[in-house]
């Protein structure tokens, strides 16, 4: 049986290490975005009325694509004062991703996230889906 999507934050002295599991690759990327949003802002944000934004990114490999995705959400969030919790990954391969996202303006921001890093970065296919580890600079 495929595992449901989950994420948790692991011990790291200086930064935040994020671990993700998901049954499929699109769900893994959605879970990564949700974890980022949870870290940045408090829960309880109302549903967005903003129009969907289209995200199209590419990278040299799957691991770099995950970093690129998180950094795209960090950039958009900081410049548009938004947190993205409605995420739909419409197409993803090892090197390309297309998604539609909706953001809301949060009442209270929590942890500033500077960037996703390549340190300890891993995305791997497991018998029951995908798992990933990524360290965020906070």
């Amino acid at each position: 049986m495929k595992a449901s999507s989950q994420h948790w934050f692991e011990e790291h002295t200086g930064e935040v290490q994020l671990h993700l599991v998901a049954p499929t690759l699109p769900q893994l990327f959605v879970e990564a975005g949700l974890a980022l949003a949870e870290l940045i802002a408090e829960d309880g944000i109302p549903t967005s009325e903003d129009p969907a934004e289209v995200v199209e990114i590419q990278a040299g490999d799957l691991e770099a694509l995950l970093v690129e995705w998180l950094n795209e959400l960090i950039f958009r969030g900081e410049t548009q004062h938004r947190v993205y919790r409605e995420l739909r990954v419409t197409n993803v391969s090892d090197r390309r991703l297309r998604a539609e996202i909706r953001g809301t303006r949060p009442d209270h921001l929590r942890t500033p996230v500077k960037a996703a890093t390549f340190h300890n970065l891993d995305v791997s296919l497991q018998p029951d889906g995908y798992s990933a580890t990524v360290v965020l600079d906070v």
Partner: protein, 486 residues
């Protein structure tokens, strides 16, 4: 890999020789006492420093300062010098917060007279300075003006925007402007992130503190720096904000993609680097210098806001607030970077010295420190954690040989943020600090708990190691009286 057990080579220095791992180019040296070394062994910082020793063109040794802890790629508190022209520059060796640093201001206010006015000062500062994540500043710059900040740093703000005094420039590392800066190498995305962030403190471990000088260890040096017992000082800890974060993001990506072209193989992808002589290396260096100028400009705008606030609260005129007279209200004592790469001369060699959570510590004979501090040494500020003491040191000439003219940058984290929140309850910490007479302004109790004193190493122990190593000398100790935490 064998166990990470560095051997003691002097009272406060431990070493792993370069045969510890086959890919090392230089040994690893760590400045620590037994307790600090044992704390380092509990996380992955030593392993990360071994990885740093594999950088192409690295020379001397990969160094760990006594406040070293686990980071990403480089450990925080790591120093590495590469030999020009072809030695590597690694954006991860500077970090995302390019030119995060510390500026110390000395006031004409003294305790006990200052006791009654500090609460009002803290309150007014919290109103005039945006703190925390997502807050933007009041300075409205056009894109051309932002480019001038990036290319010229503090001198543009002072001479054309009147945000400070000409005298401030001499008292900022590199006069607040690196000559290699080129705004055209900073992406539009980075400029978008930084557009409204000048004059903001940001979040995380950034803070602004009102302090009292409570001990002087070196009278002559303290006098030269303008520090005396009971004096009120203001310490600013922040960096290049989102602009610097994006510059690092952009160039880590570019260098990661360029690794095969330069046949560079690394044990950690976040160490992505390129020869400083390559197109990628030169472009990153120009962008990093521009982001460093932005950080100095950020601390300059904050200085201006603090001076305005002091003048308003104390009822002094603008000239006193600007610190133009003998009784200057707020004078820049110094401003030092602790996330940066600098080109420095060591004998007849030019080295690219990466300092990631480490501070430059030039000695008294250096011609690159302010004229007023020659014979004394470059000031170094070592903030403790929130609620604990901070130290003012001056660099020693011996630091050049001992530690690539580098020293520690703070207390260094000992606990993760999650662990800190398990041990500390934010609102109780706020009460404890206030019971000790320390006023705290912080957007949330959870964020306060993440930066609690228990999350950090003992700053006195860290400072003791750098003084025993002969890297720097203690000048003064500062105790917090009011804290604005980002």
């Amino acid at each position: 890999m064998p166990a990470l057990e560095p051997r003691q080579v002097s009272e406060v220095m431990y070493e792993l020789s370069r045969d510890f791992r086959p890919d090392m180019h230089v040994p690893v040296r760590v400045f620590a006492d037994e307790e600090l070394l044992s704390q380092m062994k509990r996380d992955h910082s030593l392993e990360q420093l071994v990885n740093v020793s594999t950088l192409p063109g690295i020379t001397r040794a990969a160094l760990g300062m006594p406040d070293m802890h686990q980071g990403y790629g480089f450990p925080v508190g790591g120093v590495a010098a590469t030999l020009l022209p072809d030695g590597a520059i690694s954006p991860g060796g500077i970090g995302f917060d390019i030119n995060c640093g510390v500026r110390l201001l000395g006031s004409g206010l003294r305790y006990p007279d200052a006791e009654s006015v500090v609460p009002k000062l803290v309150h007014e500062l919290s109103r005039s300075i945006p703190i925390g994540y997502g807050r933007h500043g009041r300075l409205d710059l056009s894109s051309d003006e932002l480019d001038r900040v990036l290319n010229e740093g503090c001198s543009y703000l002072i001479h054309e925007k009147h945000l400070g005094l000409d005298a401030d420039l001499e008292l900022i590392e590199s006069r607040g402007s690196l000559p290699g800066a080129d705004a055209s190498r900073v992406s539009n995305r980075a400029k978008q992130r930084g557009q409204d962030q000048l004059g903001t403190l940001g979040g995380g471990n950034h803070f602004l503190e009102i302090q009292r000088v409570d001990a002087i260890f070196d009278e002559k040096a303290a006098q030269a720096l303008g520090l005396s017992l009971g004096q009120v000082t203001v310490l600013i800890h922040t960096g290049s904000r989102g602009l610097g974060h994006q510059v690092c993001t952009d160039y880590v990506r570019a260098m990661d993609q360029a690794l095969p072209r330069y046949k560079i193989s690394l044990p950690d992808r976040q160490l992505a680097c390129a020869p400083l002589s390559s197109a990628e290396g030169k472009e990153y260096f120009a962008a990093m210098c521009a982001a460093a100028n932005f950080a100095w400009a950020n601390r300059q705008v904050l200085t201006h806001r603090i001076r305005e606030t002091f003048a308003r609260v104390l009822g002094t005129g603008p000239s006193a607030a600007l610190g133009t007279g003998e009784d200057s209200t707020l004078r820049v004592i110094y401003d030092v970077a602790h996330n940066i790469a600098k080109l420095e001369q060591f004998g007849n060699q030019t080295l690219c010295v990466h300092r990631k959570g480490a501070t430059r510590a030039f000695g008294p004979s250096s011609s690159e420190i302010p004229a007023t501090y020659r014979g004394i040494g470059q000031p170094v500020f070592i903030p403790g954690s929130m609620g604990t003491v901070s130290f003012v040191l001056v660099g020693a000439d011996a630091s050049k040989e001992i530690s690539l003219s580098s020293t520690c940058h703070g207390a260094g984290r000992a606990l993760s943020r999650t662990a800190a929140k398990k041990e500390v309850i934010g609102h109780e910490l706020r009460k404890q600090l206030e019971a000790r007479g320390i006023i705290v302004r912080c957007p949330s109790n959870a964020e306060l708990a993440e930066e609690a004193p228990v999350a950090y190493k003992d700053v006195e122990r860290v400072v003791e190691v750098v003084t025993r190593a002969g890297i720097a000398k203690k000048v003064a100790r500062l105790v917090p009286r009011g804290v604005l935490k980002g």
